[in-house]
Amino acid sequence: MGIARWFHQLASPPYLFRLAGRLAPWLGISALALLAVGTYGGLVLAPPDYLQGEGFRIIYVHVPSAYIGLMAYVVMAAAAACGFIWRIKLAHAVAASAAPVGASFTFLALVTGAVWGKPMWGTYWQWADARLVSELVLFFLYLGYILLRSSFDDRDKGDRVSAVLAVVGVVNVPIIHFSVEWWSTLHQGPTIARLDAPSITLDMLAPLLIMIAAYTLCFAWLVIRRLQAEILERERGTRWVERLAMEGPA
């Protein structure tokens, strides 16, 4: 009973807005704290890699952002599917807020991958690297989703049509990923010194795990902040938003 009621309350914009407002500072503070710990651990405590030297440290940014890029797409598609199936408008608002954040993290993963590639491969972009290439395709999927959503004047319709695209995309992401991987194993040139990752030591792994947790919290924080803005924009003209605008947040 209690859970069911709470679930129904989540579909109420003012309730969700206030809940998001209460959660946001906690998420923000814990994200920043973990980021600081992880950065210290990654840049100072972790030993340099015996093959890649100090250059490997970029994984503390690259791996978490690549992971968030992928996870955000799943979150976005799940939210969009919930919105589509049960006609929950706020679920569409969540999908709309997650998309640009996910796209940004994917972009960050691409940029850090390129920066890492320069000293390791001698080139910023390496088509033979399956993970980078499928990350790029993921970025294109995000762009398509954001563009499709924004081309509808009618927000409701844009929500629901782009939800279909998000679900089609999430079904295709694994297919694309594995086919790209298959493709790159065929074309792997001899120039790339593939650095297979043997068992990573704990003092290298711990900061990475902390960074992944920090990025996850950071993602949640950013999405929740965007969600608040999204709710206000969607609910503009309603009583509670007008009252909020007059009185300021309680």
């Binding site: 782009s162 295709n172 297919i175």
Partner: protein, 221 residues
């Protein structure tokens, strides 16, 4: 099933009467392919190495070109609303439209592709595999592009957006299609890549009509 055949026949009849609309992608395919030698080099060795890619990219682009009108003409003249009202499931009707579209624009591509392949000095022995790969790949492309067309059916500037939405999704088709062709060119068995193309076709043809019909329904709400 009766609904399927009647809609299928109707689309074919319409295509036969507006054949210029449907021959455009084929001519586009020929033109794009014949522009590559200008951009690269007329040298036979170069053309032979890039031929597979040229062929597949041209086929991909031309299969997207005609899709803008797939549902839009029906929406504009109101027949889509009649289809929505019909007791048959919309997915089946969408599947009929995809099939008709493939017969009109995909099949002729299979006939033209050997011509382009030979002009790019691909070995004639590889042509049957190429045609088979295209036979398996073009339905997937039609199905994916139909999803794109359905998503953008009420948008004024839909055409460009379709490519943006659909092209990333077609990368597996491109990977397996070019792989099958390359294997055949080197005289190796291409069955593995062809099976994967077939699997993709089965997967996309069974799910894309569902997604496309959902998108059409929302668009026309």
């Amino acid at each position: 099933m009766n609904t399927f055949t009647s809609l299928f026949a109707r689309d074919l009849k319409l295509a036969a009467r507006r054949w210029s609309e449907f021959s455009t992608p084929l001519i586009f395919f020929l033109i794009v392919a014949s522009l590559f030698p200008f951009a690269l080099s007329p040298d036979a060795a170069t053309l032979r190495t890039v031929g597979t890619g040229v062929l597949w990219i041209s086929a991909l682009l031309s299969s997207l070109l005609a899709l803008d009108g797939l549902f839009r003409t029906d929406v504009d003249d109101g027949s889509m609303e009649q289809l929505l009202l019909s007791p048959a499931s919309l997915s089946l009707l969408v599947f009929a439209k995809i099939s008709a579209h493939w017969v009109v624009s995909g099949l002729p591509l299979l006939l033209l592709a050997p011509l382009v392949a030979l002009s790019f000095y691909l070995p004639p022995a590889a042509v049957p595999t190429l045609v088979l790969a295209l036979l398996l790949a073009t339905p997937t492309l039609s199905a994916l592009a139909a999803v794109g067309a359905a998503l953008t059916v009420t948008l004024r500037a839909g055409g460009g957006l379709i490519g943006l939405l659909v092209l990333p999704l077609t990368s597996p088709v491109l990977i397996f299609g070019t792989r099958a062709t390359d294997l055949a060119i080197h005289g190796e068995p291409a069955a593995g890549a062809l099976y994967l193309l077939g699997a993709l076709a089965a997967f996309c043809l069974s799910l894309a009509p569902l997604a496309a019909s959902a998108a059409i329904r929302v668009n026309l709400e």
